[in-house]
Structures are given as C-alpha cells and as structure tokens.
C-alpha cells in the first residue's frame, strides 16, 4: 500500500514536471532553441507572483491572471529582440544567450530579495487532501496541478492542430525556409511560440513555488534539469510525451524516496540516462527525420 501511495504521489508530481516541460518542448520543437534559462525563467515567474502579492495583497492563485499574460508578452519580445538575432548567428548563439539569462536571473533576485525563500502561500489547499483509504491520500493541490497540466496540454494540442498559427508553428518546425516562401513572417510565428512557452513555464514556476512553499533565487537550476529530463524521457516534439515523461520521472523520484530520502534525484537522473541510452527518441518520440 505504501508503494501505491508513492506511485500516486509520483503521478501527481509528474503533472507539475509535464507542465514545466511543455514550454521547453515548444521552444526546441519550433525554433530549435535549447533554452538553458527555462528553469530560471520559472523562478522569474515565481518572483513576479511574489512581488504581485507583496504589493497588492491578492492570493497567489489570482496573481496567475496577471503574471502569466505578462510573461507571455515578455516571451514574445525576448524572442523578437534577443533570440531572433541570436538565431541568425548560428546554432551556438541562442544557447549562449539563454545561458547568460540563466545567470542574470538568480543573481538579480539574490541582490533584490536575498537568498531566502519568499513565500507563495497556497491557502487552505496546502493541507487539504482526499483520503482514499488509510494509506493512500491524494493532496488537493497536487491533484489540481495534475489536472491543470492535462488541460493545458490538451488545449495546446488542439491549438497546434486546429488553428492557423498552430499550423504555422508545425510548418516552421518542419521547414522554416519554405514557410517564409509561403509569405508567412516566421519571426511573428516564433514570437508567439516563445510567448506560449513563457506563459506555460510561468504557470509551472508559480505552481512549483506554491508546492515548495515559496521561491528562492537558485530554484531554476533544479527545475530546468527536471524539465529537460521530462522532455527527453517523453520524447522531443510530443506534447503528450511530456505528460508521460513527467509521470515517469515523478514516480521514479517518489518511489526512490521510499528507499531513502537521499536518492530520489539520483534515481530520477538514472531513469533519464536509461531512456537516453535505450530509447534516445524518448518513450513517445518520433523517429528522427533529419
């Protein structure tokens, strides 16, 4: 029963991993940008929520209504102004730019708000749970995260499949040179894709902060790792793959935690390495076309 409980907790944790990985998957899938700052941008989202709470006193949930759209707009312009220029300079340049951002963000917040954890209160949801039996209980907040994550990914899937912009994004992923020859300004398409990436990572960043009780400057160094592992385990370019990848990683971590509190991260990394070694395209990844 104790195993069943830890598997259940792992699945719930996987929802959060999936949510944080989706934006990484889009940035790489559409623009071929490996966003090393992904985790630190999640931290930035967490801090923006914290700052909003500090100055308005609203609850953490409501800050999402402000913070997520703001970050989406920031994402659009970061792509247009920063990443687009970097892309013109070759494959390595965007990597360096995102690496730079990943250094700036934690250092800036250390300067502004010290190294201490800044609270992101969840309210009464923090402790409420659904007791399935005497061993298995599902936390309301983690369950909510998993549901949000699945809704988000289903919505993105539909957006990609049915809208004009989604079509352009998939076409850009296939062959951006030809997309331009169809009269589509690829820079706008890239901007919107990065906006979506920023919006989803912000949602994940704030929820991650809520789960941890708050946000601190160097959280991103861990979350970026989880996001990368989730994407690789699930399979690059597959949105549902990120859900599966997140759940595999989450379960690996929580089950390992039953053996010893010191090994969850290690086991998570080992599972990731195992997938990389035996299924390099990920569990749901497509065969590499190029």
């Amino acid at each position: 029963m104790i195993w069943l409980n830890s598997i259940a907790q792992g699945i719930l944790l996987g929802g959060l991993f999936a949510m944080s990985a989706v934006g990484l998957s889009i940035a790489f899938g559409v623009m071929r940008i490996v966003n090393l700052a992904h985790g630190d941008l999640m931290t930035l989202g967490g801090y923006l929520a914290f700052i909003t709470i500090k100055y308005s006193g609203m609850s953490t949930w409501y800050t999402l209504i402000i913070v997520v759209p703001v970050m989406a707009v920031i994402g659009y312009y970061v792509q247009r102004i920063l990443f687009q220029r970097a892309l013109r300079m070759g494959e390595l340049a965007p990597l360096m730019v995102t690496f730079g951002i990943s250094i700036i963000i934690p250092n800036a917040f250390t300067q502004l708000y010290t190294n201490n954890v800044q609270q992101l209160p969840v309210g009464s949801l923090a402790t409420s749970s659904i007791q399935l039996n005497n061993m298995v209980s599902i936390g309301t907040f983690p369950l909510l995260t998993l549901c949000l994550s699945i809704i988000l990914i289903a919505a993105l899937q539909q957006y990609m499949a049915r809208t004009k912009m989604g079509r352009y994004m998939r076409a850009a992923a296939d062959d951006s040179e030809i997309l331009r020859l169809m009269g589509v300004d690829h820079r706008k398409v890239y901007g919107v894709a990065m906006g979506i990436s920023f919006a989803t990572l912000t949602l994940a960043g704030v929820l991650f902060g809520m789960r941890q009780g708050g946000v601190s400057p160097y959280d991103g160094h861990l979350t970026v790792l989880f996001a990368f592992e989730t994407v690789i385990i699930g399979g690059l370019g597959s949105l549902w793959g990120t859900v599966l990848g997140g759940i595999v990683l989450g379960v690996a971590q929580t089950v390992a935690g039953q053996f010893s509190p010191e090994i969850p991260l290690l086991v998570g990394h080992l599972v990731f390495l195992g997938v990389l070694a035996f299924r390099p395209n990920g569990l749901l990844g497509k065969e590499a076309l190029r």
């Binding site: 079509r167 998939r170 296939d174 331009r180 169809m182 009269g183 589509v184 300004d185």
Partner: protein, 247 residues
C-alpha cells in the same frame, strides 16, 4: 509590360558564385523556360528571385517595384511563389494543411482549396493523408497546389519532373494551360528539353551562371540549345564571335 526584370544579378553561396551578372525579363502572362546542365545556376537564380538567397549585385524589379532588398516572405506577399526543387513539403502536416499554409499570404484571387482540388483532383482524395506518406508525383502535385494557394502573379517551378514517372509528368503538364488561363506568369526550370520546347513562350539557356542564349522555341535550333547546354564552343550560333584559341 515586363512583370519581372532581373538586371545584372549575381548570387551564390559564400565564396561560390552560382549566378553571375545575369539579366533577363519575363513578360506578363509569359512562360519563360530556363534550361541548362546541373550546376548551371538555375535553382540559385530562382531562389534569388524568390528571396531565399540574397543577391550580391544587381537588381530585381517585380511589377515595377524594386524588390531586391525585400525579404522572402514580403516577395511572396507581393505575388512571387516558388515551387522548390525536391518539393519540400511540410512533412508533419496533412495534404490539406500544406495547402492551407500555402495560403499564408492572404492574397485574393481565383485559387482556394476548392479550385486547387478542381485542378488537381488527386489531392482531394488525399487531403487527410500525411504529406510524408505520398508518392513523388503526389508530393509534386501538393507542392504546385500549395504555391497556387498564394494566388501568385509569378510562379517559379523548379525541376517539376525530376524523379517522377513520365505519366505523372504528363498529368502535371496537362494542368499548365488551366493554370495559365488566369494570366499567371511562369518561370520553368526543366531538364527535359523536348517538353520545355513544347510549352515555353521563350527559352533561356544557362551555363556556369551565365545566360548564354535566349530566344523563342521557333527561332532557336535544337543544335544551338544543346551546344549552349553542354558548353560546346558555340559554332552553330550565326552571330557567334570567333572562338579564338578554342579547340
């Protein structure tokens, strides 16, 4: 009036010059065919006109406007469509989605899903098929349909028959008059000389990045074209300068 005027254009890849100091005009509604051996610079020339490659020198005037500095997507919005060599379909999209992306310019005109399906009925049957799972001929039909969806004024067709069964090439060529009915101008790059002579209003023969010979199928002899094609010393030209020192 010339719809396209290319003046002293040079273009290439890095240090390699594939097109050098080349000039020609395409009249409105005309089918201008470019022939030449592999590596003569035909595809590079088309890409330069479409804007995929920037010209190093010279100017490109389209519908009276200088478009030399315009990016590729702007030229497409202005009405230049390229059917690229090797088709280059969007492989994770279905046939119909490929066509819809082709309409990305939002230009108005006779071409939409319905009329493209009317012209190329094979596409309607395949519309939900993933474009990676098509035969070469079917892919070529999608590529042509996709270019028409942008309602272009000038369409650049690069090696439409390359690697395709003759019967499919025949079907594609049969659709040409219907396409041209709308007053569309075409630049056609083709290896098959006989077919080219059959459809072209005018022919240009390229060799090593230069336009060596230009004329109508009526006033060029087959011998002249093959000479230019293979770069023989062009003995058959009436007005050829004496090839001093050539063997």
């Amino acid at each position: 009036m010339a719809i396209l005027e290319v003046k002293n254009i040079s273009a290439g890849y890095g240090d390699l010059t594939a097109v050098s100091d080349l000039s020609f005009k395409v009249e409105e509604g005309e089918l201008f065919a470019l022939v030449g051996a592999n590596g003569a610079g035909k595809s590079t020339l088309l890409k330069t006109i479409a804007g995929s490659i920037r010209a190093v020198n010279g100017s490109i005037t389209f519908k009276g406007q200088d478009v030399t500095k315009d990016p590729d997507f702007k030229r497409s919005q202005d009405g230049i469509a390229l059917v690229p060599e090797g088709r280059r379909l969007f492989h994770s999209l279905s046939v119909e989605e490929n066509l819809l992306v082709g309409a990305g310019t939002n230009r108005k005109g006779p071409w939409n899903l319905k009329s493209v399906y009317g012209l190329l009925p094979i596409l309607e049957k395949l519309k939900d098929r993933n474009s990676a799972r098509l035969s070469g001929g079917e892919q070529q039909a999608v590529a042509i349909g996709r270019a028409l969806m942008s309602n272009p004024d000038l369409i650049l067709l690069d090696e439409v028959s390359l690697g395709l069964a003759p019967i499919i090439v025949e079907q594609i060529y049969i659709s040409f008059p219907d396409i041209r009915k709308q007053g569309l101008s075409i630049i056609l790059v083709e290896q098959d000389l006989k077919r080219t002579l059959g459809v072209a209003d005018r022919i240009g023969c390229m060799l090593e990045g230069h336009l060596l010979l230009e004329g109508t199928p009526a006033n060029l002899t087959h011998q002249q074209i093959t000479d230019a094609y293979f770069g023989h010393s062009v003995q058959s030209f009436d007005n050829a300068p004496s090839a001093g020192g050539a063997q």
